[in-house]
């Protein structure tokens, strides 16, 4: 039997124990070991031995710090020296750390945003196997890809391809807001009509009820928050809600709210699709009105399944000149990669944004790092003597370099901590600015790993140069103060300043351009008067029956000047038809926006009639009359369109030939950045079902009064119908959301960039001013004026910023021109933008530098010259 105590424990003991105690202690412990061994098992003795060894880790027994390896002492010493330097130059440290913290904050925000984009839909359990069915529409002239497929396809895929798909589910193509009513409470919310399997496919987390609830067409399932909104503290299960004031459904399930970064995010309820499609209204092949999702079988690849179902529609509908290929898009592509051009997947706008922001983030960080590097290098140069003393005392080069690296790491760590606090505090605002809920990744180890790794990188970048550079001094030169910085060093630093300002100016140019472009589109003539125009939404047939009454009542009340109706709103270009021609031409290859309007539509919207006349109810039904927009007239090639005949392949108002009675200026209904869509308006009386009512308010009446009066009359005429209204102006402005978001972020980024750059400049100019304090003193004694001294000190930086301007203007011009190419209705870039950017940055730079140069120039030379 082995009578020796465990070796490893003994090694440990010898490692930390004072050398002079080794003999007695090891003796005692071995005796103890043998003693225990006599009475107990070996394991017990070993355990006890370990226990005794560990219990020797007491201050009296530990080796003195003095006798630990050099490394640890130097480490501690370095920290102390670094802290002293930080506190010795408070302003300087503040600028240094603050600038870096700002840069880090921006990059952390951008990082979080990108993380959020890429984690889209990831929470779905079947993330890897869920696919959406897309249709590639191939005609001789074009290829387009869309997600609308016929409902019958779903049945076909379920029946004939069970080896590929575990499950297929369909939803109504266009998700519409529905009114959900319980007792007196009504909410207008987004939700989906889905087939019964959807909750399984999307693995809804049911808090009450089961995932099978949609099997019964009289059921509805609600999100948790929707349930709370509708029912408050009551239990929603089993209660009846009314949908769109028409259908009563029973709540048979409550699911946990879907996260915002999900394709179905924001869905407040799921309704059975069988409400829409059932025995009376079956799924068909020739109506492309559903979206289809499927769950692939384990082990089936997307490309294989995609290839297998490619020709399903083509086999059923054989048309020689057009094909409809099917393809599957995996869930990972739904959010970021679902843009197609000519049938090929292309970089989507979201990816473009991600790239844009990544670039900006990297650049801002780079600016901050450069600052850090510049200021540190400048700062460290003052410490030549310190290096000299260290080296004279026997420091190796590596140790001196270690000191500087250590210091820059501490700065970086400080900056990281500050920026994390800022991120934590500002996250809600950033979420609001970026238009989506962005979560902090505080519990994500990768987040922390990135932060720390990043810190180390910054420290290496910023501290590396001065560390290598300063540690190379020979101690004699360093002590003699012969530390002239090389010309190369100065040049390098100047280059960095130029680089910083180049980026900042490019960002300023972008901001100004984006702002200008948005403003330009906002001021664009829309072809109708937005101010004082209110849109009401009609939701039932009874509304149409009472429309005449509503109109006369509203006008009689005096708050409303006119009321018109249409089947589509003013804010989109839905209702698209081709197949029109004039008497003498072939069919025009243009799709027109075709809408039906009541005769007062024009008077209500106050459109701009360029030629001819408006519709008029006194002329009866006027089934053959149409009004076209100027761009439509152009599409037909008509110079004087009034009185001309237009023929149509499809029937409108049961007619196929029409007479143009009027021409209106183009109405901007779609994107305000696009060319106007040619418009054809057909007149109808109040017979059909109109969803959109346009009300022209009397400008004499205050808006608040008008709305409440309108609501009263509306309720009188249409009891039980919800009164929903929107201001046309707000709706128009909401079209700028995406651009305004980009603009807002660009503004923020460029302000930050210029602040960080100026912080750097500020620190650098302070440093220069102190370096030249004697020179300035002598110059003053010799009679130099304050102005000339100011010019002398500021000039150097001015030149750098000017060079940056020269470089940045072409870059900015190129970048912004290509950005503007995305917009059909756009500004042309002129010199005012560049001029303003350049002036602005020059002004800011000079203001920054002047603080120190003026301060230095007005110092009494007696003080500066007596410094030694």
């Amino acid at each position: 039997m082995d009578q020796k105590p465990p070796k490893l424990a003994t090694h440990l003991l010898y490692f930390f124990l004072k050398h002079e105690l080794r003999e007695e202690v090891s003796g005692d412990l071995e005796e103890q070991f043998l003693h225990v061994l006599k009475e107990h098992s070996k394991a017990r003795a070993v355990l006890n031995y370990w226990f005794q060894v560990i219990n020797y880790m007491r201050p009296f027994a530990l080796k003195h710090i003095r006798s630990t390896p050099m490394f640890f002492i130097m480490f501690r010493h370095n920290i102390i020296i670094s802290l002293r330097t930080v506190f010795k130059n408070k302003t300087f440290s503040l600028i240094n750390i603050g600038g870096l913290a700002l840069g880090m904050t921006v990059s952390i925000f951008i990082g979080l945003w990108i993380f959020d984009e890429y984690s889209f839909n990831k929470h779905h359990q079947h993330y890897d196997r869920l696919v959406q069915v897309y249709r590639k529409h191939i005609t001789p002239s074009s290829i387009s890809v869309g997600s609308a497929v016929p409902g019958a396809l779903g049945l076909e895929l379920t029946e004939s391809y069970p080896h590929l798909f575990e499950d297929v589910t369909m939803t109504f193509y266009r998700p519409n807001n529905q009114l959900i009513t319980y007792n007196e409470r009504t909410f207008n919310e987004t939700g989906y009509f889905f087939q019964e399997d959807a909750p399984h496919l999307f693995t809804l987390n049911m808090l009450a009820g089961t995932r099978n609830a949609l099997e019964n067409p009289s059921n509805i399932i609600l999100s948790e928050s929707m349930g709370r909104k509708l029912f408050g503290t009551e239990d929603p299960m089993g209660k009846t809600v009314r949908v769109n004031t028409r259908v009563d459904l029973i709540v048979q399930g409550i699911y946990e709210d879907l996260p915002d970064n999900s394709t179905l995010g924001g869905a407040q309820y799921f309704l059975p699709l069988s409400l829409v499609y059932n025995k009376e209204n079956p799924y068909v092949w020739d109506n492309y009105n559903v979206k289809m999702f499927a769950l692939l079988k384990e082990g089936v690849s997307v490309s294989n399944a995609s290839a297998a179902i490619k020709d399903v529609i083509n086999n059923i509908q054989d048309e020689s000149d057009r094909k409809r290929d099917l393809l599957l898009l995996p869930m990972k592509d739904w959010h970021l990669n679902s843009t197609f051009e000519d049938g090929i997947q292309v970089t989507s706008r979201r990816i473009q944004f991600i790239r844009l922001y990544t670039t900006i983030g990297i650049f801002i960080l780079l600016i901050a790092c450069i600052n850090f590097m510049n200021l540190n290098t400048a700062q460290f140069q003052k410490r030549g003597k310190e290096v000299g003393v260290r080296k004279a005392m026997g420091s190796m080069r590596g140790e001196v370099a270690g000191q500087f690296l250590m210091e820059s790491f501490m700065y970086a760590l400080g900056a990281l901590m500050i920026s994390l606090i800022i991120v934590y505090a500002l996250l809600p605002y950033f979420s609001a600015l970026s238009g989506k809920e962005i979560l902090g990744q505080w519990a994500n180890p990768w987040f922390w790993l990135c932060c720390i790794g990043f810190c180390g990188m910054v420290a290496l970048m910023a501290g590396g140069y001065p560390a290598v550079f300063l540690s190379s001094y020979s101690p004699i030169n360093a002590l003699k103060g012969k530390l002239r910085q090389g010309r190369a060093n100065t040049r390098f630093r100047q280059g960095l300043v130029v680089f910083q300002f180049t980026i900042s100016i490019v960002l300023i140019i972008s901001t100004l351009t984006i702002d200008k472009q948005i403003q330009y589109a906002k001021d664009r003539p829309t072809g109708y008067e937005k101010e004082g125009l209110v849109t009401l939404i009609a939701r039932s047939q009874s509304f149409a029956d009472n429309a005449e009454l509503l109109r006369s009542e509203l006008i009689a009340s005096g708050v409303v000047e006119e009321m018109g109706m249409s089947n589509y709103p003013l804010t989109n270009t839905l209702g698209s038809n081709g197949g029109f021609r004039t008497e003498n031409t072939e069919e025009v290859p243009v799709y027109f926006n075709t809408i039906f309007v009541s005769p007062e539509y024009g008077k209500a919207t106050k459109w701009d009639l360029a030629d001819g006349r408006d519709f008029n109810r006194e002329f009866g039904d006027e089934k053959n009359a149409i009004i076209i927009s100027e761009s439509a007239a152009e599409a037909f090639g008509l110079e004087n369109p009034v009185g001309q005949q237009i023929l149509s392949k499809n029937a409108f108002n049961d007619q196929s030939s029409f007479e143009v009675v009027g021409v209106v200026k183009d109405m901007i209904k779609g994107s305000p950045f696009d060319e106007p869509v040619p418009l054809i308006l057909f007149p109808t009386r109040y017979t059909g079902f109109y969803s959109y009512v346009f009300v022209r308010l009397n400008p004499e009446v205050a808006v608040g009064t008008a709305i409440s009066e309108m609501e009263r009359i509306f309720k009188e005429v249409n009891p039980g119908h919800p009164f929903e209204y929107y201001f046309a102006e707000d709706q128009f402005m909401s079209k700028f959301r995406a651009e305004e978001q980009v603009g807002g972020l660009a503004t923020l980024f460029s302000i930050l960039a210029i602040i960080i750059s100026c912080l750097g400049l500020f620190g650098l100019s302070a440093f220069m001013a102190t370096q030249r304090v004697k020179e300035i003193g002598i110059r003053k004694v010799m009679g130099a004026s304050i102005t000339s001294l100011w010019a002398l000190l500021s000039k150097d930086f001015g030149v750098l910023v000017l060079i940056a301007c020269l470089i940045s203007v072409p870059i900015g011009a190129y970048a912004m021109n290509s950005w503007l190419q995305d917009y059909e209705y756009r500004i042309s870039l002129d010199w005012t933008v560049y001029g303003m950017s350049v002036l602005l940055s020059l002004f800011v730079a000079f203001a920054t530098v002047s603080y120190h140069s003026i301060k230095a120039s007005i110092t009494n030379p007696v003080q500066s010259l007596r410094t030694e």
Binding site: G27, L29, F51, N55, M57
Partner: protein
């Protein structure tokens, strides 16, 4: 002046050193704790206290002769100094006077010696 008060644990260690005489080294003392006081104390803890007591001047120590047991390694034998005795006496007297004034035991007399 050095700290001359005795903690409870220190006092016990000091007493055991006095009891053990020639055998007063760390391992034995920790064994005494186990056998006499039913208290498990690591050698390190004892050693640390011995060290402290030495610093206070209550103990002196010297390395003993090497023996064949424990691999021929020597032990450090501790011995109470005059100051140590005094400290023990003071500690005992203080406690005794307290005991005597404790009403529940007021009738008792302790005879030490």
């Amino acid at each position: 002046m050095k700290e001359s008060k005795l903690g409870d644990f220190e006092e016990t260690v000091l007493l055991i050193v006095g009891i053990l005489g020639e055998e007063a080294y760390a391992f034995k003392i920790s064994e005494e704790f186990k056998t006499q006081l039913q208290r498990k104390v690591s050698i390190g803890a004892v050693h640390s206290t011995l060290n402290r007591l030495s610093e206070k001047g209550f103990l002196t120590s010297a390395m003993g002769q090497p023996t064949s047991e424990r691999g021929g390694r020597r032990k450090r034998i501790y011995e109470i100094t005059g100051a140590g005795y005094r400290a023990l006496e003071i500690s005992r007297d203080v406690k005794l006077s307290l005991w005597n004034r404790f009403p529940a035991f007021a009738g008792f007399k302790y005879h030490i010696g």
